[in-house]
């Protein structure tokens, strides 16, 4: 992972500067782009392993950049956004962004998100089809879960929700993404069901279900399994 290339698309010189320094200290290679056009060109000519995209670009709307990139590539994208724009965050995640970081941010936070986004996704057919998140282990092949080595008894919906979150461990997953995969397209607005499943899951995996440390809520957006 250390040699991964990161493309920073940001119109502000100072932000590009500190992002370059930070990622180079961590052993990454950094490419820079000043605007959307340059960013898209750079991503096409020399595809990076991860794109960090600032939404306040002067020449193009963030969602159109993500759409354009997603039309030909699955490179993980982390979006830099501002607070109190949850609807926009959800829309960008639906369009294919992998995660977001709210400005202003400490660099530690962004690097953690970047590592989570770069982590290869575990699939049931893998050699080692086990996702480990802290004390939680989920075997995607046998569909068994354990917490601190103890067997978890999960209902089918509970298992499905936990599996989706575990496969994206450390990354935010929107409610709509979970609803679509678990309940299908017709119940997208009934996120109440999801909340009930999450409450049940927390009762089974959290030490204190009212103060979750593993299955975290991103208010207004979705859920995240603590990396």
């Amino acid at each position: 992972m250390g040699n991964a290339t990161i493309l920073v698309i940001d119109d502000e010189l100072h932000i590009r500067q500190f992002l370059r320094a930070a990622f180079e200290f961590e052993g990454f290679t950094v490419q820079e782009a000043r605007d959307a056009e340059e960013g898209i060109r750079s991503a096409t000519l020399k595809p990076p392993d991860l794109i960090i995209l600032d939404l306040g670009l002067p020449d193009r709307d963030g969602s159109s950049i993500i759409e354009r990139l997603r039309s030909w590539s699955n490179i993980p994208i982390i979006v830099l956004t501002v607070r109190s724009r949850e609807r926009e965050k959800v829309r960008l995640l639906e369009l294919g962004a992998d995660d977001y970081v709210v400005k202003p941010f400490g660099i530690g936070e962004l690097i953690a998100r970047a590592r989570a986004a770069l982590r290869p996704r575990v699939v049931p057919a893998a050699n080692d089809p086990v996702v480990r998140v802290g004390p939680l282990e989920i075997n995607l092949a046998t569909r068994f879960g354990t917490i601190d080595g103890k067997r978890l008894v999960l209902g089918p919906k509970e298992y499905q929700v936990l599996q989706i979150l575990a496969q994206h461990a450390g990354k935010v997953v929107t409610r709509q993404q979970i609803m679509k995969q678990v309940w299908g397209g017709s119940h997208l607005d009934d996120t109440h069901y999801l909340r009930i499943v999450v409450r049940n899951l927390r009762r089974k995996i959290e030490l204190d279900p009212t103060r979750p440390r593993i299955l975290l809520t991103e208010l207004g957006v979705g859920y995240r399994l603590a990396p």
């Binding site: 932000i15 930070a22 607070r83 949850e86 509970e158 309940w183 069901y193 279900p209």
Partner: protein
């Protein structure tokens, strides 16, 4: 053209004659029905003074059909009673002298009654129409008051005029100083000829006050005229007169003139001109304010992003890593940036609330999630206090805007840390009440005294006692209250006095979601 309009006139006269004949026929049928009814009753009871019964068809004819059918019904009624009931029966001859007096008297009374009934009916209709007009006018003036842009006002005028004229109406918005380009404000397609006539009218306003009649390519006739001959600002009106032409068009045109004279007087009375220019200014000011808020947000935030980013990078740089002094300096920067950022956010929130109100994006939410988000976001701020979380396990879900509610609770937590000693306890709780969920923040701080209890929620209010050494904008609790109230909740503060701590509670209505438990049934 001449010939066709004559044909049209003749056809319409013929139609009117037919209508009149039909009304007379109806009144005669009424009389016949009455006579048959009376004859049937006469078989069982020996009826006297039957003539009076004929007032019934007269009154019906008067109210439903008009005065002429009523008079005819009166005469026919008199005739029918002479024929069927007065001896000699089945002859119009009347022998009895008393009947000879009764009959003309009846006809006279019937005609007077018919006349009165017709008048009454007309007045009732008039009153009903007035009521509708007043209602329309009231709705119209309410729309004007709420209108934000000139185009809102033009739409309101167009719909108002269309409803009183009763025909398809298009309103062309003209620029304030009667400029050449007439902007369109309507739905539906507009024929080229009408557009051209409108432009001509907008350009050479003087001298064409009464407008002109235009025919489009499809045989429809349009009346094009300014809404007001005097004041140009109200725009140009095009009214679809349909396939009619000639004298009919003239008649409609007269009616439209009358309606428009009334309407313009109303528009002037409502000070529409002012409303229009106010709306123009208002939309410009709002656009300006939005731009300002956006740019301030960007201008103030961008340096914060670089400051915080660069500082944290320096403290993590390979040569510096593990140096506790640098780490703590980075923490200082982080705290200050957080504080500045939240002050900027307060200003933006306050500007948005007062310009646009609070916009909600509600969803069902676990109350614990809001408490946790508010606490987690302020971990560094709360680091010096003992934080106790007291969240009940089985709280009902609440239907709120989670982001706004988290910000409201966060503002209260911020205040608790500002007005209490480091090391003291702050208890943040979420509890169920009978039909509500109550979130609360309790501190052991300086409490509330005197005017603080009442002015606490006011904009820019800051407690005198600690104003010197506590930073803040005085907006926090005002914002918290706005957000909580918008979510249908209540916010209250309690304190037993100076240095006895403060308890702030947010009470949110809890109701059950309408959907059944699909999740549970699907879980097996």
């Amino acid at each position: 053209m001449r010939q066709t309009s004559d044909q049209v006139d003749r056809a319409s006269v013929w139609r009117r004659l037919q209508d009149d004949a039909l009304s007379v026929l109806k009144s005669l049928v009424l009389v016949a029905i009455t006579t048959i009814g009376l004859l049937v009753l006469d078989q069982f009871f020996a009826l006297r003074h039957v003539t009076l019964v004929y007032l019934v068809p007269v009154v019906i004819a008067a109210t439903r059909l008009g005065i002429v059918p009523a008079v005819i019904a009166a005469i026919a009624g008199g005739g029918a009673s002479a024929f069927s009931f007065y001896p000699p029966i089945y002859s119009f001859l009347v022998k009895d002298p008393q009947h000879l007096i009764e009959l003309p008297l009846f006809i006279f009374v019937a005609i007077v009654t018919g006349h009165l009934a017709t008048n009454l009916r007309r007045q009732a209709d008039l009153a009903r129409r007035r009521e509708t007009e007043v209602h329309d006018l009231y709705a119209f003036s309410r729309r004007l008051a709420a209108a934000h842009t000139p185009s809102d006002i033009y739409t309101a005028i167009r719909e108002h005029l269309a409803s009183i004229i009763g025909r398809r109406t298009i309103l062309f918005e003209t620029a304030p100083r009667g400029a050449a380009d007439a902007a369109l404000s309507s739905e539906g397609r507009v024929p080229e000829q009408v557009k051209r006539a409108t432009e001509a009218l907008a350009q050479g306003r003087k001298g064409s006050g009464n407008g002109s009649v235009v025919e489009d390519g499809e045989g429809r006739v349009w009346l094009v005229r300014p809404v007001s001959a005097k004041a140009g600002d109200f725009g140009v009106l095009a009214i679809d007169l349909g396939q009619q032409a000639g004298k009919m068009a003239d008649a409609i045109r007269e009616r439209v003139d009358a309606v428009l004279a009334d309407a313009t007087a109303t528009l002037e009375h409502l000070d529409l001109g002012r409303a229009l220019s106010d709306a123009r200014v208002r939309s410009e000011t709002e656009a300006l304010r939005d731009a300002l808020i956006g740019s301030v947000s960007h201008q103030l935030r961008s340096p914060l992003v670089s400051i915080l980013g660069a500082a944290t990078v320096i403290s993590r740089a390979p040569g510096n890593r593990g140096d506790p002094r640098l780490a703590s300096l980075a923490d200082v920067l982080r705290d200050e940036v957080d504080r500045l950022n939240s002050d900027v956010q307060d200003l933006l929130d306050a500007a948005l609330i007062s310009s646009k109100g609070v916009r909600l994006d509600c969803e069902w939410i676990e109350p614990a999630d809001i408490v946790n988000a508010a606490v987690d976001r302020r971990q560094r701020l709360l680091a010096d206090h003992r934080v106790l979380l007291d969240v009940a396990g089985e709280l009902p879900f609440i239907y709120v805007d989670p982001i706004l509610l988290e910000q409201a609770l966060g503002q209260i937590v911020d205040n608790a840390t500002k007005y209490s000693q480091p090391g003291s306890a702050i208890t943040i709780a979420a509890r169920g009440a009978s039909d509500a969920v109550v979130l609360s923040v309790k501190d052991d701080g300086i409490g509330l005294v005197g005017e603080e209890r009442t002015c606490l929620w006011e904009r820019f209010f800051r407690g005198e006692r600690r104003a010197a050494n506590v930073s803040g904008s005085g907006l926090g609790l005002w914002i918290a209250k706005a957000f909580v109230t918008a979510n249908g909740g209540q916010i209250e503060a309690f304190s037993e006095g100076a240095d006895r701590g403060t308890l702030v509670s947010i009470r949110l209505p809890a109701r059950e979601p309408a959907t059944p438990d699909l999740a549970v049934s699907g879980d097996g």
